[in-house]
């Protein structure tokens, strides 16, 4: 049994309702999508063994004849259709309908205006045809998301968990305590050497460390402050896995309030991000000179806003904003507090007076999404490994507020470029187009760009073959071995 820990307890183990990382992580193991993600974040076959698309609008998926639900029944194309309908059906009230709304007729079905999804057809047991409203290149990646995973809609969910066809099955769920997964005996491509995975819910970082030290859990995500201790321990350093996260930390500036780009650039120039990275993450965090993290096609090295307090002061002066005061909102967390207190100090040095407003998540999200705050500290991580997952939600003007664009950035040219890039089917050209969007946005400094963090995990001596996934959806325990 592989013993793992989760910080937060999953609320639901149903792909239609999975919204947070812990829910997504477990759903991705229990439910298969048409496609999946490898630990490296590469698209891999799932329920579909192959697919083709002539134009990025019409997709034909060939269902793998070996795909089975955990009760042994074959997965057919119609099961995929029914699963998509389930997520979009008004009666389900799923919060994740956006994942499938690109399909032609999906919105009408969602709003109860149509009895079926026009662009979705199971032409036979092994062929599913999906037609989008318009070409959309990231669609395949999005199909790896929990909401697009297949469930058996003909059986009633047990304990709130529908039947899935993934490599693992939930055998026990003691809410607030642990979830045990065992291999799905009918999963054809299963090649696991372990008899189960137990996720224990351990909210406190210190307790997780203690549980790792005492051998009760096998993999520990090392809290930032503890990283040097593990790396300096010569006996254990070799068991530390390190991976740059597909995630960006930033301070969103309320663009409609701070319209002068010189002020926004000054706020960037005033912050020594390299120093922040050194202190907070033992220099492992990569200073962000754009929103697309390394590892995602579209990431590009470009010069950042160099740390230059003199320039920052001059820009503020030119903009007539010498005595700038702003309120920066942040969530209650030790990590956020450390970052913002440092930034507060940097800003003070150039005459910017920042008040930190700490709120718990719900109140924070409400105020920030409503555009009521001057600035806020936030991070954004990839749900699917595609530049669109960063550019469209974070900077397209149709996503102001809850859609992800919480700095209320607006630029018709950027909107157009994002739309064009998501229609581009050639991967190289799309990566170049995404990089251009990122550059253009970066030059307008809608955020104070901070860093792309790196995550460190340590694996117990008794465990072999554990791969640290680049995304929470990318766990694959097939090569894991646990010594008894």
């Amino acid at each position: 049994m592989l013993e793992l820990a989760l910080e937060t307890a999953p609320n639901r183990l149903d792909p239609a309702f999975a919204v947070d990382v812990s829910e997504g992580e477990i759903c991705a193991l229990v439910f298969e999508g048409l496609v999946g993600l490898s630990p490296e974040g590469v698209l891999s076959p799932g329920v579909a063994r192959a697919w083709e698309t002539p134009d990025g609008r019409r997709f034909v998926f060939h269902i793998d004849a070996r795909a089975r639900f955990s009760d042994g029944r074959s997965v057919r194309a119609d099961d995929v259709r029914a699963s998509f309908e389930r997520v979009l059906a008004p009666a389900t009230a799923s919060p994740r309908t956006w994942v499938l709304e690109r399909i032609r007729g999906a919105r009408d079905f969602r709003d109860g205006k149509a009895s079926a999804i026009a662009g979705l057809e199971a032409s036979d047991d092994s062929t599913l045809v999906v037609e989008l409203a318009e070409p959309f290149a990231p669609f395949l990646s999005m199909l790896a998301l929990p909401a697009a995973r297949v469930v058996d809609t003909r059986s009633t969910p047990v304990d709130g968990i529908p039947l899935g066809s993934g490599p693992w099955v939930v055998s026990e769920w003691v809410r607030g305590d642990h979830i045990t997964l065992v291999p799905n005996p009918h999963h054809a491509r299963r090649a696991t050497a372990i008899d189960g995975v137990r996720y224990r819910i351990i909210p406190e970082p210190f307790t997780r460390i203690a549980e790792f030290e005492t051998g009760a859990i096998d993999v520990l995500e090392i809290p930032d402050a503890e990283v040097p201790r593990f790396l300096d321990d010569s006996q254990r350093a070799s068991r530390v896995l390190k991976r740059p996260e597909l995630r960006v930390f930033y301070i969103g500036i309320n663009n409609p309030k701070f319209t002068d780009v010189r002020v926004r650039r000054a706020l960037n120039h005033a912050v020594n991000v390299a120093e922040l990275s050194r202190v907070l993450q033992a220099s492992a965090a990569i200073p962000a000179h754009g929103a697309i993290p390394p590892g995602i096609p579209g990431f590009k090295e470009r010069p950042g806003y160099e740390y230059d307090p003199v320039l920052a002061k001059r820009l503020l002066q030119e903009a007539g904003a010498e005595n700038l005061h702003l309120e920066v909102w942040l969530r209650e967390s030790a990590e956020g507090g450390r970052v913002m207190e440092a930034v507060q100090g940097y800003w003070r040095a150039v005459g910017v007076d920042a008040t930190l407003v700490r709120r718990e998540w719900s109140a924070f999200k409400q105020a920030v999404s409503a555009g009521k705050v001057d600035a806020f500290l936030l991070d954004w991580f990839a749900d699917y490994p595609d530049a669109e997952n960063f550019l469209f939600p974070l900077f397209h003007s149709s996503n102001h507020g809850g859609g992800g664009n919480r700095s209320f950035f607006s630029d018709p040219q950027v909107d157009r470029m994002i739309e064009d890039a998501s229609r581009e089917l050639d991967p190289a050209r799309r990566a170049a187009a995404s990089a251009s969007v990122d550059s253009l946005v970066f030059s307008q400094a809608p955020w104070v760009y901070l860093y792309f963090p790196t995550t460190f995990h340590i694996v117990a001596e008794r465990v072999d073959g554990y791969r640290l996934p680049s995304l929470y959806l990318g766990n694959d325990f097939s090569g894991v071995r646990v010594a008894h």
């Binding site: 307890a9 609320n11 639901r12 309702f17 919204v19 947070d20 008004p90 009230a93 919060p95 994740r96 309908t97 956006w98 709130g160 003691v174 809410r175 607030g176 305590d177 642990h178 224990r200 819910i201 351990i202 909210p203 406190e204 210190f206 307790t207 203690a210 549980e211 030290e213 005492t214 009760a216 709120r359 718990e360 998540w361 719900s362 109140a363 999200k365 409400q366 105020a367 999404s369 954004w380 749900d383 939600p393 996503n399 809850g402 859609g403 992800g404």
Partner: protein, 313 residues
């Protein structure tokens, strides 16, 4: 006593109505939005509107309050917005864990606290007494979080004799550290109260009479003085036990204990209105029940205590 108990239970209802109303209104004025906890970090206005309508959050406040009271009258707390599970079912699943922890902590606090208190009273003014009094001050002031971490460090990480956290499917070993952590403040407080109450009694005539009869000091203290010093101790035990039963958020978090406290805290952070309302009302009933039992116990322990109105009856 039966009539008194019945009257007290009747009083539960208006109190619960008050608690329900205050909780409902507080949650209404609190910043934050339950729907935002359900949608993750990417959502659109239509999704919010659909979910609001689904949960009747788009209805006027008065209408929602009316529905809420009707549901309460039928003992239906509804389903959690976040987990979709019936709130009553979740509370009943979590409560036994909380009860286990609370009972273990209280047992430690009473046995150790009263024991130390009586010993300190017996050896009043001695080094032992000063040590105990000083220890009690430290115990009362010790932050639960810190104590929990220290205990895990010593007993799990260093000595490796006890598990650091979790419920362990009911294995009693898992109960020891959280129960000790939770019990510390109460133990210290009960020790102080016991010491001072027993000392108040030792100057009473009946204690002198017992001594004059030649009873050994231990018997004088335990059988005579302690028995009469029980009232304030029972009060402290009642209040602490009531609050433990509502869940000990910090202890449960450090020791990853799946109790009512963490459930309620999660519900509050996610603005899970049905879960918060259910948990708060459940706690109110527990508190009132414990208080009632404490009052009944007073009369049992000290025959001089007349329960209200009973003397007039």
């Amino acid at each position: 006593m039966l009539a008194y108990t019945f009257r007290r239970i009747l009083w539960f209802f208006p109190i619960l109505l008050g608690v329900a109303t205050v909780t409902f209104l507080l949650l209404h004025v609190l910043p934050g939005d339950p729907v935002l906890s359900m949608v993750g970090e990417r959502y659109d206005a239509e999704t919010l509107a659909r979910l609001r309508a689904e949960m009747n959050l788009d209805k006027p406040l008065v209408e929602r309050y009316g529905r809420y009271l009707v549901d309460l009258a039928t003992l239906d707390f509804g389903n959690s917005y976040i987990t979709g599970e019936p709130v009553t079912k979740t509370i009943l699943q979590r409560f036994p864990n909380t009860l286990r922890l609370a009972a273990a902590a209280m047992a430690i606090a009473v046995v150790v606290g009263v024991g130390i208190g009586v010993l300190a009273a017996w050896r009043r003014g001695s080094a032992f007494d000063y040590l105990l009094v000083g220890g009690a001050v430290v115990g009362v002031s010790m932050p639960v979080f810190w104590l929990g971490v220290v205990l895990i460090y010593i007993f799990s990480m260093r000595l490796g004799v006890l598990p650091a956290s979790g419920f362990g499917n009911g294995n009693p070993l898992y109960l020891i550290l959280p129960a000790l952590t939770l019990a510390m403040a109460s133990t210290a407080y009960i020790a102080r109260i016991t010491r001072s109450s027993v000392l108040d009694e030792v100057h009473e005539t009946y204690v002198k009479a017992a001594r004059a009869k030649g009873a050994p000091e231990s018997r004088v203290l335990v059988r005579h003085a302690l028995r009469n010093a029980l009232l304030p101790i029972i009060t402290v035990v009642g209040v602490d036990f009531g609050s433990y039963l509502s869940g000990a958020v910090l202890t449960e978090s450090i020791f990853a204990w799946p109790g009512l406290g963490r459930f309620t805290l999660d519900a509050i952070l996610k603005r899970d209105l049905p879960a918060i309302q259910g948990a708060v009302l459940f706690m109110a009933v527990l508190f009132m029940t414990v208080n009632l039992l404490v009052d009944l116990l007073y009369a049992r322990v000290d025959p001089r205590v007349k329960l209200a109105r009973e003397s007039n009856a």
